[in-house]
Subunit: 159 residues, 3 copies
């Protein structure tokens, strides 16, 4: 029994699953990086949203002026939200896709293109690059997730 239980957790020995784990971790870490960039801009631009965050700048009006929005902070936050909207479906559908028995080469193609597209998307958003850089990188990542969802539904379909 113990042997069987151990075996059933060895998903991580499967090559497609290892590739999924690698790329899912990378894109989730990339998404987490957005929090640090937001914090960096909030501190350097002195633009906060919670009164308790400005207490170290003194009391009253002197601190209150730092409760403001800043275009750079808002831009990073939009990039972060866009990551949530796109990386969450990738991680969820990608897991099901990895378990649906794709070829390693097809799986790597999907994971690599998605990850590359989302890294480009972040640069396109933060620099910012002229359009359609951001739009195209978004569309490429979106299409990859859609393609994986198609494979999942074709393999698993049970309504």
């Amino acid at each position: 029994r113990r042997g069987e239980m151990a075996k059933s957790t060895q998903l991580i020995d499967n090559e497609v699953f290892r590739a999924y784990a690698t790329y899912a971790a990378i894109v989730l870490l990339k998404m987490m990086l957005m929090s640090l960039i937001t914090a960096y801009f909030r501190i350097t631009r002195k633009a906060f949203v919670n009164p308790e965050d400005t207490a170290s700048f003194g009391k009253g009006e002197s601190a209150k002026k730092y409760l403001r929005t800043d275009p750079d902070v808002e831009r990073v936050r939009r990039g972060h939200l866009n990551d949530l909207e796109n990386i969450v479906p990738f991680v969820g559908i990608g897991l099901l896709y990895a378990l649906s028995g794709p070829d390693l080469s097809s799986a790597l193609l999907h994971f690599r293109i998605f990850t590359g597209a989302r890294i480009l998307h972040t640069f396109a958003y933060l620099i910012p690059l002229p359009q359609p850089s951001r739009g195209l990188s978004w569309a490429v990542g979106y299409s990859v997730t859609f393609s994986m969802a198609y494979k999942v539904l074709k393999t698993a379909w049970l309504l």
Copy 2:
């Protein structure tokens, strides 16, 4: 060894897991659809948030007037955020629930009600339908996720 490894990835052969994969993919695709609807309203209402997105409308003041919020765009964005807040817990808790060994019929009941409720929620938000349509469809989906979490905690509890 190879045979064992392959076997351990055959979760997708399990009927409850197949049902989970089907419904999780459907609700994640529905959530992704919100991005397209937002883009549609941004373009048709000419309401953008990034200066680089309005460059094709010309330079200076003529483009700047399209950097504005639009009630329809904001409505879709709220629906999208509500999806993130509710579909993410469903996908995460639903995976654990599917692995906790429920009957296929119970699992299908949970997955179908959640998916139906979230589709209704989207229509109720975007049309919009009078309340309590949106509130009720939200509450039904919320309760289904809660019920699955109860089963997961009852089965897996190890604190």
Copy 3:
């Protein structure tokens, strides 16, 4: 065949996976709780964002005055978004970590610290506690997820 299939879904019998399921369900339920707190403040502060939500307060101007933002509502919403930004990576990376074969004691340490940190973060945000309470509890949770990602990448790395 049937026996094998059943076996492959018995992840829930693995102790590390059971611990993961328990803590993932707890933090996802905690995140879902933010929706109820938002609803509570919207109703008690009478601060709504959708016109159809104020219909029960009458028609025209008398209802329109409740379409407003409220500092308490906005605070809960920021806490909710922060949960999405941090709990989603924990749930995703934590699953991969649980499947990467960690010791039960290491796994429990990671899961317990993260869960404790996020519960503290919520109290720090909602009360609010003076900084650096919220900042520190955020950083602790962030570091735990980072540590799990390191283990996942070290175990699974296949680029």
